[in-house]
Symmetry: C2
Subunit: 475 residues, 2 copies
């Protein structure tokens, strides 16, 4: 039940919510609160801030924008710290209450890599493009939606999916994998869904999401995702079957942890304090990452806005003033200045063009930066819960050791708790490892892209000025 | 006497005023109204708008800044259109009332060049540098002033002059030469005269003034200027002698026009309508020039301000945000990102440096542009009166023709009027010619300088970014 002052019940860790499961009814996006501040039917160049993704992608929740999201997230940490551990099934697992048969194909393997535990590589890595957003209609044109073409590289069979399919998939994954940071989808939006800029931006967000899905060894290979990627769009029956199969997955909650297979034998055990230390360090890292990505996103948004408005305006005012000057020289009857007025007029055009270059530049560099930051803010919003499941397990181990010393628990039972905590630790450390790798990969690539685009931009500006300077040679 | 609503008596065309002549008393600059808006004790980066120079350099007048200057100038055209012609001595000359002996050395020759009448070239062209502004004191340190070192290229003897000497010279020239556009001095200023930025800017303004003085065949060779340039600074007696000699010059007013020597013989006469047409065309040109240089000056001022504040701020905020991001990566314990955090930190510094480059850039390019525009606004403020003297003469010719037709004037007298108007026309056209030449010379040079500096700037920015991009190669 909600705590006083916090109006929204928080879903279990998986953040699933009834509407994603079960009913195949047309889910009308317009009934969802538009939770993107400033994005309602917005036309370019209003840049979206991904503030609401910080609160996590609360699929289906009436999730108010801005500060409430933040305070809800804070409350979730304070009140549900324990509950997340419980609700994810982590506690039940650690206490030995889970049991079931795990098929080989369902096993998630953690191996020991050069930098410690990591998810076993996907033996069949693949990618999937998101292309060609097209407006489709249903009910004789009464209902419209956007469909995207997906082309997975391992099947090369294109399928078409709409946002609600992505959203369904997200719900399944977030529910199933409490130790994994499932990337957040781009925001829902009630209005302006058919605006070209919105569609373009959403497509990019989905492409990033897809890249992170395919890059994760566990997520890439999971059944629900494969169903999403491969079920032919025309076969509604097959879709529903796969959907229900995923929704009936028994290896969820406490049972999920049974599927995790970890290294065994000498040298494979994890030192408790070492794990705690690493997890605490990671917590500090994600906190700082969260603050700095938020700040950078905000700065990028502002910088983009300034270029589109202020910078463009300043350079074009200079151009306009040069134009007036050239027009004055045209009035020179003695034609002393025939070449000069043309050169000055050309210079005026150069500055006007530079203004346009500034206005167009954010699309080339800052937009991509902000898309990436939005995706990472989603991940960073996931980690507190992942960390809490781990900490809950560690706490259980400490408690069990104390109970043994106090004679309240049998040693064998405590050892079982430690062993099962060990499994969670391997998984968490593997996930941390994965996050670091993908973080470095993405930020290196993004910074390079950003700088390359900035360099190209300033080179273009320089070139315009050099062309203008050249005109004075013949004066 | 002042017209109703216009509080200031307008001086005769020469704009001289008693205090510049006669008394050698220490003229306390602080008794002059500080007529530079926003420049009172201002420290960088408050850019001065040379608005008040539009009203002309009213030496010694209590000349309020801004709009009053503008309305005074307008009134002077309306009410004194006739008076300028009269007060300059132009009317008296045209009517044949001037007489006197003109020494060869005092003759100002107009010749026929490829583009029509022009001032005869100075056979001994020279330049003069303005260097080394130094604070001097008098009265045992009770009074301070800035002295500049002048080194004329034809004497190579350095002399020291202070602002009041320049001001005295200006007064002499403006009074003597009604057909010539005497460049205006940089503004007087009551406070902040010893600020480094002010001194530096004033020195540049004086250098521009000096360049235009030396570039003008008539001004360069005139006695008062030569006295100013060559009289040894230590010889106070010689200075006063030269000063009084200049102030006693008899070839002023109507007599001045006697010194103008024009081409004679067949093909040397000027067609009245042609002259009128050229002068009208020039009037349209100067009007448009005046508007556009004012606008460009204003735009340049704003552009400079924006670079020093807004642009710098935006780039440095980006740098700061990148810095925070790199600090987050430093918290990555597994040192996945050792190279990355350093590359991002380097990128942060690059953007910080780019912010500083923007802030420093106006000193490199826009400042020089604004200095030039201020000088030209002074010239453009002179031309209405020059044009009016010409038009007054043309009017007299038309009147005289009518009088002859009406039998009110003897033909011989009318012919004398035409001949003397012809002299004024030659001088005016020569001055117009000179202005066009110097205009093209200066604006070509200034635009080239501006563009070269802008190119250098953007190249520097690009280089910083390329250095930063390079850092990612080793990540």
């Amino acid at each position: 039940s909600p705590a006083a002052g916090y109006p929204f019940p928080l879903a279990p860790y998986g953040r699933s919510y009834q509407p994603n499961q079960g009913s195949d009814d047309d889910w009308d996006e317009s009934s969802t609160v538009a939770d993107e501040p400033g994005a309602l039917g917005s036309s370019y160049p209003d840049y979206e801030l991904s503030l609401s993704s910080r609160g996590g992608h609360m699929a289906g929740h009436l999730h108010p924008p801005g500060s409430s999201a933040k305070s809800s997230a804070t409350v979730s940490r304070n009140l549900n710290r324990f509950s997340t551990f419980v609700k994810s099934g982590g506690e039940a697992f650690v206490l030995g209450e889970a049991s079931g048969f795990v098929k080989d194909g369902d096993k998630l393997c953690v191996v020991l890599g050069p930098r410690g535990p990591e998810w076993q590589e996907n033996p069949y890595p693949f990618q999937c493009s998101i292309e060609d957003p097209t407006k489709q209609t249903k009910f004789k044109g009464m209902k419209s939606y956007i469909a995207y073409k997906l082309v997975p590289s391992h099947t090369r069979q294109q399928v078409h999916r709409r946002y609600k399919h992505f959203d369904w998939l997200y719900g399944r994954l977030a529910e199933k994998f409490p130790v994994i940071s499932v990337p957040h989808l781009p925001e829902k939006q009630a209005t302006g869904r058919f605006e070209e800029d919105f569609i373009s931006k959403r497509r990019k967000g989905l492409a990033w999401w897809m890249d992170h899905m395919c890059s994760h060894p566990v997520l890439a290979q999971c059944d629900a995702f494969q169903h999403f990627l491969t079920c032919p769009s025309t076969d509604e029956k097959a879709w529903k079957q796969g959907k229900r199969k995923a929704e009936k997955d028994e290896m969820v909650g406490a049972n999920f942890f049974l599927t995790i297979s970890v290294p065994t034998g000498p040298g494979a055990g994890l030192d408790l304090q070492e794990v705690e230390s690493q997890v605490d360090g990671f917590k500090a890292f994600t906190k700082k990452m969260d603050e700095s990505t938020l700040q950078l996103n905000h700065t990028a948004n502002e910088f983009a806005r300034k270029q589109v408005t202020g910078f463009k305006k300043e350079y074009q005012k200079v151009g306009h003033s040069f134009k007036c000057l050239s027009q004055a020289f045209e009035l020179d009857q003695q034609a002393f200045s025939a070449g000069l007025n043309q050169a000055i007029a050309f210079t005026a055009e150069a500055y006007d063009a530079i203004g346009d270059l500034f206005a167009d530049q954010p699309r080339q560099d800052l937009d991509a930066m902000m898309d990436l930051l939005a995706l990472y803010q989603g991940h960073l919003a996931n980690f507190p819960d992942i960390v809490h499941v781990q900490k809950g397990a560690l706490t259980k181990v400490k408690e069990s050791k104390r109970h043994v010393e106090e004679g309240k628990m049998e040693l064998q039972k405590a050892e079982g708790i430690q062993e099962r905590c060990n499994i969670i630790s391997f998984a968490t450390l593997a996930e941390i490892n994965h996050f670091h790798k993908i973080c470095v990969r993405d930020f290196k690539s993004q910074m390079q892209h950003f700088l390359q685009q900035q360099i190209l931009f300033f080179q273009k500006v320089t070139q315009k000025l050099e062309e203008a300077l050249h005109k004075y040679n013949s004066v």
